[in-house]
Every structure is written in C-alpha cells, then in structure tokens.
C-alpha cells in the first residue's frame, strides 16, 4: 500500500508531511522521556524483519496480492512509540534505496503505515483485551491480536483512500469501497501472520514482548 509519486495533490502532500513530521516530533519526545536504550537491538532486528516480510507478496484474491505490514507486530513487541520509529525507518529505507513509495508520498506512507496503523493496533488491542478477560479460555486470546492487525490494515487503507480522494484521482466513495474491500482480505492475511509470529515470539521469549510486560501476566 505504498503510494507512488503522482497520486497525491500538492495540498495533500503538504498536509500529510505536516501531520507526519508533527507525529514524529511527538514520538521523539516520548522516546526521550520513556525510551529504553536496551531495546535498540530488538528494534533493529524487528525493522529488518518487517522490511524483509514486506517483500513477500502472497495472493489474497484473484489478481491481487498482499504482504505483512507489521505495524501491529511492532506495537505488540516494542510498544507504540518505538513501533512508529520502526515503521518510519522501514518506509524511509524502502523509499530512499528501493524506489518503493516515493518522495512526495513519504509523508502519507509514514502516516498510513506507521502512525495510523500503530495507534489503531494499540487502541484495538487494549479495547479487545478488556473484553477478552471476560472469556478466559485459550483460543480467544488470539482475537485481540488478530483484530488489532485487521483493523490496522483496513483503517490505513481507508486513510489512504481519503488522501487519494482528496487529491482527486477518483471519487472518494468508490475508493473507500474498493480499497476497504480489497484490504479487508489483506487484513485477514495480516491478522493470521501477526498471530502466528506473535505466538512464536511469546512462546520463545515472553520477556521480550512489550505488551505482556505492561499488564499482569496471563
């Protein structure tokens, strides 16, 4: 879902750059306040893993493929502030070196795949986790992770549709409908992969999972 050059109008480019730079400034401040230097190796590995995962496209519908975005995974493993940093680094390297997502769309891409996807993941996970505690049987613990991942993809896609609609490339209603439906399928892939990888990390190094260390064990 990397927007290339040419899709966004100048006002949308300006607006998304402003929102992204403002968000990154806020994140920088929070990392300075609460950041932990010991997390850096984990952040480096996570960024590399997400970068590589985003190169793997999997068919999700006839004529369309999707890949892991990784914003939810990053949020669960390193927390929302470092997750935005990880996603911003990935999007920036893809743009600077590999021509994936271009310069004028950098603000929008970081806003959609980094800032929005991370905070949607964080909010949905915590809302769902409260609900999950009422039904403490084994299988349901995957639901908050799956839904956080699904919503992160769908909301990012809808935000991307709004940016494209405001730029006038296509009618906003049609964009919302099509982007929403395609990314609802891609969201399922994101959800399944996120649950799988999250469970793998949790079973291997529970202490390395940010979200589990913020709550009581369970």
């Amino acid at each position: 879902m990397h927007i290339p050059d040419g899709f966004l109008s100048l006002p949308v480019v300006t607006g998304t750059y402003t929102a992204t730079l403002f968000s990154l400034g806020f994140i920088r401040k929070k990392i300075k306040e609460y950041g932990d230097q010991l997390l850096i190796p984990k952040i480096a590995l996570l960024a590399a893993f997400i970068f590589v995962s985003q190169m793997i496209n999997i068919p999700v519908a006839p004529g369309s493929s999707g890949h892991l975005i990784g914003a939810t995974l990053a949020t669960l493993l390193v927390g929302p502030f470092y997750a935005v940093l990880v996603m911003s680094m990935v999007v920036t390297v893809q743009m600077l070196i590999f021509q994936d997502g271009d310069l004028t769309a950098w603000g929008a891409n970081v806003l959609n795949l980094g800032v929005a996807a991370v905070f949607v993941s964080f909010i949905v996970f915590f809302l769902m986790e409260k609900w999950e505690r009422r039904f403490p049987f084994t299988g349901i613990r995957y639901v908050p992770v799956f839904l956080a991942a699904w919503f992160s993809v769908v909301i990012s896609a809808l935000l991307c549709s709004i940016e494209l609609g405001l730029s006038g490339v296509a009618p906003l209603g049609t964009l919302l409908k099509l982007m929403g439906s395609v990314h609802a399928l891609i969201g399922i892939l994101e959800g399944v992969l996120t649950v799988f990888i999250f469970e793998l990390v949790r079973s291997w190094r529970r202490d390395a999972v940010y979200i589990l260390n913020q709550n009581s064990p369970g």
Partner: protein
C-alpha cells in the same frame, strides 16, 4: 533448548528466503484499485532513489536481486537503528537542554 532456538531461527530464515523467492508478482491492494479505477497512469517516478525497484544488478535473475535487496535493506536498517541510538548517547546534554 538452545538447539531448538537455533533450529527455529534457521527455519524462519529459510521461510523468509523462500518467501522472497516465490513472492507473488500480482499487484498489491492499492495497485489493483488504481488499475480498476484507471488512475494507475497518474503514477510518476522521479527516479532518484539509489536502486530501481529492488534491482541490485540488472544482469542478475529477479530472485537473486530480491534476496540481495532483502540483505542490503536489513543491513541498512540495522546500521540505522544503532546509528539513532549512538546519536542519542553521544548528545545527552543537548537532549537535556531541549527538553
């Protein structure tokens, strides 16, 4: 325990390499919609990035290019992460002054 961890790491690495090698060439969600709504032609490439779309060397097969790109991107991100940490470490006074 340690052996199983190495086995797991090895398996993940193999899966990633295989994933890249057999990655689908079908368009992603945004590209699919852009084609359907006929605004794909609005795409412009300013051609200023270091490499052209995950192509390290045009003479190499696409699979090899993608695997090498994954390696290069990962190394750059590792350096970038540690670089950011080093910047913060080497400038604590400035950070204090700004806060």
């Amino acid at each position: 325990m340690k052996a199983s961890r190495y086995l797991l790491l090895f398996t993940v690495l193999i899966l990633l390499v295989l994933g890249i090698a057999y990655s689908s060439s079908m368009p992603d969600g945004l590209e699919t919609v852009a084609r359907k709504l006929h605004f794909i032609s609005a795409e412009r490439s300013l051609n200023w990035s270091l490499l052209k779309s995950y192509q390290i060397c045009e003479k190499l097969p696409e699979v090899v290019n993608h695997i090498l790109s994954a390696l290069v991107g990962s190394i750059v991100l590792l350096f970038m992460s540690f670089g950011i940490a080093r910047l913060r470490e080497s400038n604590p006074q400035k950070d204090k002054g700004n806060s």
